[in-house]
Symmetry: C2
Subunit: 231 residues, 2 copies
DNA sequence: CCAAAAGTGTTCAGCTTACACCCATGA
DNA sequence: TCATGGGTGTAAGCTGAACACTTTTGG
C-alpha cells in the first residue's frame, strides 16, 4: 500500500530549474543566455533551464541541464533560491528552482552555441529576459558574491594553473571594483594554500607572471582545523 | 490561447513547504515540532508544513502555514533551500521548499499547542524527525547562523524592549558559545542603533538591567549610506 | 549583609589600508 | 630603449580579544 493516497487532495505543479552559468574570460565575468528558438518565449532571451524528470533529484537535473548545454561534467554548482510567484510564467503555474554554476570558460564548447542558440554576455550587460529571469539572475549574482567571499569557489572559474594578476582580475570582475595589488597578493599568499609554479604565463605580458596552483589538500586540512577562507 | 500546451510533455509534482520556526525563551533557542496525529508519518515528529495552494506564492503559503500554527501575523521569515531528492517522502514525489521563521515566543499562543499537537524543543535536543526533516532543520540553522551575523534579524526573536544581557544570551544560544560581556556591549553600543530606555527590567536580577530598543529608522538610514551590520 | 547579576576601560597584538618604485622582456 | 605589466615593503590606524573589579538591591 502506498502513502500517495494521503496527498490526493493537493494539486501538483510543473517544477522547472533555471541555471545561471558564470564564466570568466580573463577580463570579465560573463553568463550564458539562450536566444530562444522555441516556444514559449520564442525570440526572447532567457536563462538556460529545463524541467525536473520524475526519477532525478534537483541536483541531478541541474547536472543534466548543464552538461547538455556545455558538454562539461563535474561542474561546480549551487542551488540558491526557488521562485514560485503564481504568474511568473503566464502560461502555467511553474515553480522554478534556481542554480548557479561556475565553469572554466576555455573548456566550454563553442559548437554548442549554435546548437542551443546560447551566447555569452557580460554580467554588466544583461538584456531584458523572459518572465522573471532578470530577478533570478540578480539573486544568483548576489548569492555568488556572498559565497565567493568565504569559500575558494572562485577558482572554479579559472584553469588549474593561473597567475595572481588573473586571480585578482577575477575578484575584481565579480565585485566590479578595483583592488590594491600589493594587499591582494599579501592576503592570498598568507593563506598558504597557493603553490607557486616554476613556469610563467607569457600570454599577457612580456615579463610573464608566475603560475600558481590551488592546493586543495592543504586547504581541506586547514578547514578541518577550523580555518575559514576569507577574502 | 494559453501557453500551457507547451508543457504537456512534462510531469507535475506535489510541492510542499516546511517551516523551521525559531523562538528564544530567554535562555535557549527553541524550535516548534509537530507530533503527528495524522497520516502520513502518524506518531512521528516532524516540522510544521503544508502544501502550496494553486493561487498562492511560496511566501504566501509560508505565511499561511505560520499564521495557522502560531496565530501570529507579520512573522519574519526567509526561504533557505529546496529539497528534492526523489524518495525523500516514500509515499510520493514531493518537492519541499524550506523556510525558517523567527517569532517572539511570548506571543505564541499556547492553546495552539494542543490544537496542532505542537511542542517546543531546544535546538540542542531535536529528536529523530520524519523523512529528511532533520536535514532540513540543520540547513535552516546553518542559514540562520550565517544571516544573523550580517543582519539585525536576531531582534525578531526578542520583544520590542530588551536588555543587553538578554541580547547577549540570544546570540550565545544561536551560536552555542559564550561571549565576553564587555566586548559584546562595546560592539553593540558602538553601532548607534540601540536606544537606552529609562526603565529597567527587574525580572532577572535585583539590580535590574536597562531596557533598549532597536532604532529601525536609524538602521535603515545607515544602511542607505553603505553601513553593514556585523556581529 | 550577602548573593547575584549589571555595568564599566585599558592594553596588546594582529590586521587592514594606503601608498611608489624597480624589474624583466619583447617589440 | 621603451612601453607594458609583474613584483615587492612599510608605516599608521583600527579592530578584536583578553581580562577584574565595583555597583545595586532584594531577600
Amino acid at each position: 500500500m502506498t502513502k500517495a493516497k494521503y496527498y490526493i487532495n493537493f494539486k501538483k505543479y510543473y517544477v522547472a530549474l533555471d541555471c545561471v552559468i558564470f564564466g570568466f574570460t580573463g577580463e570579465n565575468l560573463e553568463t550564458i543566455l539562450i536566444k530562444r528558438n522555441f516556444q514559449p518565449g520564442l525570440g526572447a532571451w532567457a536563462l538556460p533551464g529545463g524541467f525536473i524528470e520524475p526519477k532525478e533529484s534537483l541536483d541531478k537535473a541541474s547536472e543534466r541541464i548543464l552538461t547538455t548545454l556545455t558538454g562539461l561534467s563535474d561542474i561546480y554548482m549551487e542551488q540558491f533560491y526557488t521562485f514560485g510567484e503564481v504568474n511568473r510564467d503566464p502560461g502555467a503555474r511553474i515553480i522554478s528552482v534556481g542554480y548557479y554554476a561556475l565553469i572554466k570558460i576555455d573548456d566550454y564548447g563553442k559548437e554548442l552555441v549554435s546548437k542551443h542558440n546560447a551566447f555569452r554576455r557580460k554580467i554588466t550587460n544583461i538584456p531584458k529576459l523572459m518572465f522573471d529571469h532578470n530577478i533570478i539572475f540578480e539573486k544568483a549574482l548576489e548569492q555568488l558574491r556572498i559565497k565567493v567571499k568565504n569559500r575558494p569557489i572562485g577558482l572554479e572559474l579559472l584553469p588549474e594553473k593561473f597567475t595572481l594578476p588573473q586571480l585578482q582580475k577575477l575578484y575584481e570582475s565579480i565585485y566590479l571594483t578595483k583592488l590594491d595589488k600589493r594587499n591582494f597578493r599579501k592576503k592570498i599568499l598568507a593563506m598558504d594554500i597557493f603553490e607557486k609554479q616554476k613556469e610563467k604565463d607569457k600570454e599577457s605580458s612580456k615579463r610573464g607572471a608566475f603560475f600558481y596552483k590551488f592546493n586543495k589538500q592543504e586547504y581541506n586540512k586547514l578547514v578541518a582545523k577550523g580555518y575559514n577562507f576569507e577574502l
